[in-house]
Symmetry: C2
Subunit: 212 residues, 2 copies
C-alpha cells in the first residue's frame, strides 16, 4: 500500500460531526453543513453514480484525494447508528444503500464481531474487533494504493495518536458548530505534519499535510 490517508471535513471550531447523532441526524445537529461543499461537485456525483455537477478547485481536490484509495477503515459509529450487539434479524447494512460509494473493501472497527457484508459495486464491509488489525488488513487489501481513514472522530483520534496517518487532507468549512465530535484533543503530536498545499474555495479551505 502507499499511505494511510485521512480525509475529513471539519468546522472552524474543530468538529467533524455535530452533537446528538441519530438515525434521523447521522452527522448530528448542523453536521450536514460540513459536507455541503462536496455534494454539488462532479467528483462527488461520479462516486455516487450520478452525472453532472460542478467542476471547480474543490472538485479537483476531492478527485485527487479519492482517486487512489484501495481500502477504507471506519469506526462503527460512522457505519451506522446502532449501538451494542448487531440485530440478528435484518442487521444494519450502512447508510449508503445497495451500492455504496466505496467500491473497495471497507474495514469497520467494532466491539461486535459479524460476518462480512458484500453489497453491490465492489464494496464489502469487514467487521474487525481490533483497530490495529483493521489497519493492517486494509493495508494488505490495498497493494500499491492508499488506505482511507474515514472517521468518525474516535477512530481518527486513535489513528492520529498512534501516528498511523501519513497524508492528511483537512477540509476546513467556514462554520462554527459549537458542540460536536472533535478529532484534535491534544493527545496527538501533530508537529511532524508539514503543510504541502492550501486551496481556498468560497466556503471551505483545503489543507494538505504530509507526515515528514
Amino acid at each position: 500500500m502507499a499511505a494511510f490517508r485521512l480525509q475529513i471535513s471539519m468546522s472552524l471550531d474543530g468538529c467533524v460531526a455535530g452533537p446528538e447523532q441519530s438515525l434521523d441526524d447521522p452527522l448530528g445537529i448542523g453536521g450536514e453543513q460540513l459536507h455541503e461543499w462536496a455534494v454539488p461537485l462532479a467528483a462527488f456525483r461520479e462516486i455516487h453514480g450520478q452525472e453532472g455537477g460542478e467542476v471547480n478547485p474543490s472538485d479537483s481536490v476531492l478527485r485527487e484525494a479519492t482517486a487512489n484509495i484501495g481500502a477504507t477503515v471506519m469506526g462503527r459509529n460512522m457505519f451506522g447508528p446502532v449501538r451494542g450487539p448487531w440485530l440478528a434479524d435484518a442487521p444494519w447494512e450502512g447508510w449508503w444503500g445497495k451500492n455504496p460509494p466505496f467500491h473497495h473493501p471497507v474495514f469497520v472497527v467494532t466491539h461486535h464481531a459479524r460476518e462480512p457484508l458484500t453489497l453491490e459495486g465492489g464494496t464489502t464491509f469487514h467487521f474487525v474487533t481490533d483497530f490495529e488489525d483493521a489497519m493492517m488488513r486494509a493495508a494488505k487489501a490495498a497493494p500499491d494504493r492508499d488506505v482511507a481513514v474515514a472517521g468518525g472522530a474516535s477512530l481518527v483520534r486513535q489513528a492520529l495518536a498512534g501516528k498511523w496517518i501519513e497524508v492528511m487532507d483537512l477540509h476546513v468549512v467556514s462554520i462554527l458548530l459549537g458542540r460536536g465530535e472533535r478529532i484534535f484533543d491534544g493527545s496527538a503530536d501533530l508537529r511532524a505534519f508539514r503543510l504541502v498545499r492550501t486551496i481556498h474555495a468560497p466556503t471551505v479551505t483545503h489543507y494538505s499535510f504530509i507526515r515528514s
Copy 2:
C-alpha cells in the same frame, strides 16, 4: 461602548497558545508561529511605535480590528508568567515594556488584587478579581468604542460561554500545534455567530463573525 470584540490567532487544530508556557516561551512551544502573520505588517509596527512594514490584505484586517478599541480585558496568564500572589518587590509589569501597545485601559482578571499600574503611552493595567466586573468596567471605560477580549484561552472560553462576545475575528493560521491551549471546547453555543467576511492570505485565513 460599541461591542465586545474577540480577536485571536488560532492554529488549524484550535490552539491559541502552545503547551508549556513560561517566561522564556510566553506563547508556549511553537506558539509564536501563531503571530508570524501579524508581526511584519505596517499596522502591527505602527501599534508598537515602529515605522515601515508590509501593506497587504492582512494589514487591512489588523488595522480595522484594532482601530476602534477603547479598552482591553485579558486573563492573568496573558498578562504574565507569574502564578500565585504578586511579588511585593518589583512585581511583574507585563510582557510589553515601558510603553505597551494598548494605549488605553487594560483590565486584568486575577485572583490576586493589586493597585493599578500606569505605564507610558496611555496604558493603565487595572487588576480585577471578578470576570464580569472586569467586562463591565472595560465597557464603561470605552464609551462609543469596542472592548477587546484579548485572551488567554481560559478568559476567552468564559467570555464565549457567557455570550459576551458580539464580534469575533478569527485568524486561522495554517499550522498544527498538536498540544496547547484551546478556546473551543464544546461548552459554548456558537451557532448564533454569522460569518460576515473571509479574507485569505498565504499563511492565514481571516474570518469575521457577528453574533446575530
